[in-house]
Every structure is written in C-alpha cells, then in structure tokens.
C-alpha cells in the first residue's frame, strides 16, 4: 500500500504503476458526471476536453454567488449506476482516472485494462470534506437541461483524497475479494 501525491493529467506509465489498495491525493482538473451526464456526453457535442481531467461520479451541492458558484458539499455518488455507460465512456474520452464510491462491474474492469485507466474510491458521504479540497469552480455545462445534481461541473482540486485505488489498469478489483467469506 503506497501513497502518491499526483498532478493531473496522468500518463499511461503513471496509471500502470498504481495497484489496488494504494492511496492517492490528486491535484488538477476534474469534471462531474452521473447518469444523465454520461448519456448526454455520449450523444451530444462535448464543449470541453475530458481526457485531461479526472471523471468524478458526483452530483454536488452548489451555491450561486454574485458572478460564480461556490461548492458547498461534493462527495461521490454510487458508481455502479454508471456501469451501463462506462466502457463506451472510456473508449470515447480516454479518461485516466475515475473517482466514485461503491465500486463498478466487470465491463468497466475490462475497459480500465483496455484503455489504461483506474477507478479510485473516495469516502461516500464525506461531502463537506471533499468540498474543502476544491480550489475553484471552473465551469458548468447542461445546467438548465439537467439541473444541479446531474449537470457537468468542472472544478480545480488540490490534494483531493485520500482516494483508495479500488480497480487498477491490470484487471484487479478490490471488490472481487470482499464479502466472499
């Protein structure tokens, strides 16, 4: 179990180094996407470059300020709901890091290996703590169409963690061995 403090974007070489059980603290740009956002990004023109960012399964609680947005609470949402999209999502956007909670299934596990990417778990429900690691709000897309939880929010995060590498780029998943006692 190693601990890494890393900057985004990640290279394939870096991604391959991470093993399940490793702890990560990441700095850089992330975008949020849950069910509706996955569907929208797979079917519509995407106005930003997802491949340089981490994909965050999150529907944040945001507060409108005079000319921007403030993050109030922003922990991860249950990742398994995105299982039906994630292999196609990885193929299209070449995202190197997925952040979520609760784990994902076999299709994602295979896709992580094929497209060299990892899935890392952040503590579910720790929304206030996560919001404190957001350095700034960058942009938001599809807010009117999808509403606050489902919109795609772009954040700059600093030392965001501890993330636990739960599925690596070598076909291993921490969830495979758990609950089988």
């Amino acid at each position: 179990m190693a601990e890494y403090h890393i900057n985004l974007p990640l290279t394939d070489e870096q991604v391959k180094k991470f093993k399940i059980g490793d702890i990560l603290y990441v700095s850089g740009d992330v975008f949020t996407a849950r069910d509706e956002a996955h569907h929208t990004m797979l079917t519509e023109k995407v106005p930003f470059n997802p491949s340089s960012m981490a994909l965050y399964h999150c529907g944040p609680l945001m507060k409108k300020t005079k000319d921007s947005w403030e993050v109030v609470s922003a922990g991860p949402t249950t990742s398994s709901r995105m299982e039906i999209f994630e292999d196609r999502f990885l193929e299209k956007f070449n995202v190197k890091l997925i952040i979520g909670k609760g784990g994902m299934g076999k299709n994602t596990q295979k896709a992580l290996q094929k497209y060299i990417s990892i899935y890392a778990s952040y503590t579910g429900g720790a929304g206030a703590l996560a919001a404190d690691k957001v350095e700034k709000f960058i942009d938001v897309f599809w807010l009117d169409k999808l509403g606050m939880p489902e919109a795609v929010w772009l954040f700059k995060v600093k030392e965001y963690g501890p993330l636990v590498v739960a599925m690596d780029a070598h076909g291993n998943s921490i969830y495979d061995s758990i609950g089988k006692k």
Binding site: L61, T123, G125, A128, L146
Partner: protein
C-alpha cells in the same frame, strides 16, 4: 364587545407571526438534520474507528473529520441532502392540523435556498428538476395521531444511494426466521459498498409488502445501539449484526470489520400464506432531528 374584538385581533396577529416563525423552525429542523449527526451515531462511528485498521480506518477517519467539519461550518455533511422525509405525530387537540402540511412544505422550500440543500426532486417521466425539493407526494410525510396538543416532527432526510439498496422479499413462510435472516444477510453483502457502509439497517418482518417496508423504514428512527424491547427480536438483531459484520464488506465496501453500525427489526402479524421482509437501508449519515410545535405555534428543535 370592544374587548372581545380586541382580543380576536391580537390573537390573529400572533397567529400570523408565529406561523411565519414556525416555517423558520422547519428550516432549523432540516439544518440540524443535514449538518449534525445524532450523538448515538457519532459514538458508534468512534467505536468503529478504534476497531478498524488499514484502509477501513482511513474511511472512518474521513467520515469523522467530515462530521466535525460539517457541524463547525454548518454545511450539509453530504451533498446528497436526500428526499425530505418527515414522521409527524399530531396531538389531536392541536388547533390547526389543517395548516401543518403547508408549514412543512414551505419550510422545505425555504431550506432549499437558505441552508442550502440540493434540489433533489425530479419528475420521473421527464427528468425535470422541481428545483425546490417539493413535488408530487414530496416532502414525504407520515402522519400519526396521539393524545394531547403538541406536534412532534422527526426530520429524516433520506439519501438515494442507500434507498436504492432497499429490498422486499416475499418469502415462503416455510423458510422460518432462519430464512429471514439469510435473506437480510445476503442482500446486505450483495449491496457491498453501494449504500455507504457502515450502514444502519431497518428490517420489517410480516404485515403485507408495503407494511414490511414501512416498518423497516420506521425502525431506522430508533437510535443506534438501542435494542428492540422484545427479547426474542433483540436476539435476532444481535445475530444479524454479527453475521453481516462477519462478511468483511467493511466501510465503503473496501473491506473491514464494520459493515453495519446497527440492525433494527420490527414485526407485524402476517397472512398465513405470506412472509414479507422489507429491508430499509440508511447510510452512515443516519440523519435525524426532532422538533416539537406547541398549540400556540411556539416550537423547539432538539
């Protein structure tokens, strides 16, 4: 005559003022629930922290740090501020029962902007967000009636991740109580990290399909660590806690000793042909807050 009119107008004024205030009371109630966990839950998480090691310990530490931060900064501990759910016990001598639903609904709308809480109500057909946490049947209020003139309200904001792990089993009566236990244990292992363990699990045994689920949900209102008064049911609870925690699912499903903080069981008599088991799951953020409204609309939030 003059005296009587004066009297009426004063009461009228107080009435309007205090109903306005009680909307703020509902906002306070929701704020309390969203930003501060009940002591029983925090104590039980602290015990889990002592018990766990490695990755499991990092998860409980993040949870405890988050609880502290949310309380200090008066921010919702989780971005999923839930579906606004209330259990209301109305004293039948409360003079304005007809206004209670509006007061709660107005409070939810105000809380959405003021705290704030995430707009969480979507039209199931169009996906459109109602933007104020209200809508058809929401806030979801369960009404009970009792003696007296006080109204007791429990706010129980319910997150989606844990709600998605709810289960209904229409078991064959022949499987008996051991079959019931196996069903609960298997479902909680299957749920893995998805409901944000360590969870609190409510199990309703008996009744019909809807009643078993309702009993499961209501069982979640009982504080963590408090056993059912019936000794036989308490034993079933203890057995379920032991079995689910022995699975090793652990905090956030990443492995560990604490998968549930508690299991609460409630029962109802059943039809001879049916053995319904309703499972309601609450994430570690077992958010609950209480409020009392008196007959003059004065109120307290506990």
């Amino acid at each position: 005559m003059l005296f009587v009119l004066l009297d009426v107008s004063i009461w009228g004024k107080i009435d309007i003022m205090s109903k306005y205030d009680v909307t703020d009371g509902i906002v306070n109630l929701i704020r309390k629930a969203e930003t501060e966990l009940p002591k029983d839950v925090v104590e039980s998480l602290k015990k889990a922290y002592k018990l766990e090691t490695g990755v499991a310990k990092t998860q409980i530490k993040a949870i405890l740090d988050n609880i502290d931060l949310a309380k200090k900064s008066k921010r919702p501990m989780c971005q999923d501020t839930g579906i606004q759910t209330f259990f209301v016990e109305v004293g039948i001598n409360f003079p304005e029962i007809n206004n209670l639903k509006k007061v709660i609904t107005d409070g939810v709308k105000k809380a959405t902007k003021e705290i704030p809480i995430r707009p969480n109500t979507m039209n199931p057909l169009t996906g459109e967000n109602h933007k104020d946490n209200t809508g058809n049947h929401v806030p979801y209020i369960t009404w009970d009636f009792t003696e007296g003139s006080d109204v007791k309200i429990i706010a129980f904001p319910k997150g989606g991740g844990s709600e998605n792990m709810s289960k209904l089993g229409m078991l064959k009566p022949g499987v008996g109580i051991e079959g019931v236990k196996d069903f609960v244990v298997e479902e909680m292992i299957k749920a893995g990290g998805q409901p944000c363990p360590p969870t609190v699990v409510g199990v309703g045994i008996g009744g019909g399909a809807d009643l078993s689920l309702k009993l499961g949900k209501k069982a979640l209102l009982r504080p963590v660590g408090v056993r059912n008064k019936d000794k036989d049911i308490a034993k079933i609870e203890e057995d379920l806690i032991k079995k689910i925690n022995a699975s090793g699912v652990g905090p956030m499903g990443l492995g560990g000793k604490t998968t549930v903080l508690d299991v609460h069981v409630e029962i109802a008599h059943r039809h001879p042909a049916s053995l319904p088991v309703g499972i309601a799951v609450q994430c570690w953020a077992d958010r609950r807050a209480k409020m009392v409204i008196h007959k003059d609309w004065s109120w307290e939030v506990e």
